[in-house]
Symmetry: C2
Subunit: 96 residues, 2 copies
């Protein structure tokens, strides 16, 4: 299963892109007006892919236009065995 | 050398992150008030890293606050040997 927080947020991890696309579209079809896609490090590219595929698929298959809301970039501190390190993160908001 | 277009745009490729950080900071120190960082596919993560490192370094070392301008996500068509394929892209605007 995909990790979905209460507030319509999808956390992108190492699963196939298609899994996250499916989960995001499910949130929209279940009534969400806004979905936030979050990722950090290597998952950032996948988050961008998910957003673009969801947008295209919602428009072509469900005739539902999707717009981008805020896109935010930041740096998070992550604990590793050898201490703390910085990792870039992205949050992409999609709106119905 | 890094590929820098006339209009203060940095295209992120496969070089080390630090090269693009340097080029971006050079544009700002040479008078640019705005720099656009563009990347597609696998380079998207590097673009986000470059933006965050430039922001942090301009603030800590040059006491120059940097803000995010528009962050845009889109899909580009790329020609490959076996036909056309879609690739996600990002454009991140940094403002002095």
């Amino acid at each position: 299963m995909i990790n979905v927080a209460d507030n319509n947020t999808i956390f992108i991890g190492k699963k196939p892109t298609e899994n996250y696309v499916f989960s995001t579209i499910m949130l929209f079809t279940n009534g969400a007006s806004e979905v936030s896609i979050k990722a950090r490090g290597m998952a950032i590219k996948r988050a961008v892919d998910v957003a673009e595929i969801v947008k295209s698929r919602m428009e072509s298959m469900m005739k539902t236009p999707i717009k981008y809301g805020d896109i935010k970039i930041s740096t998070e501190k992550v604990q590793r065995e050898d201490g703390e390190s910085n990792v870039s993160s992205i949050e992409i908001v999609l709106k119905k």
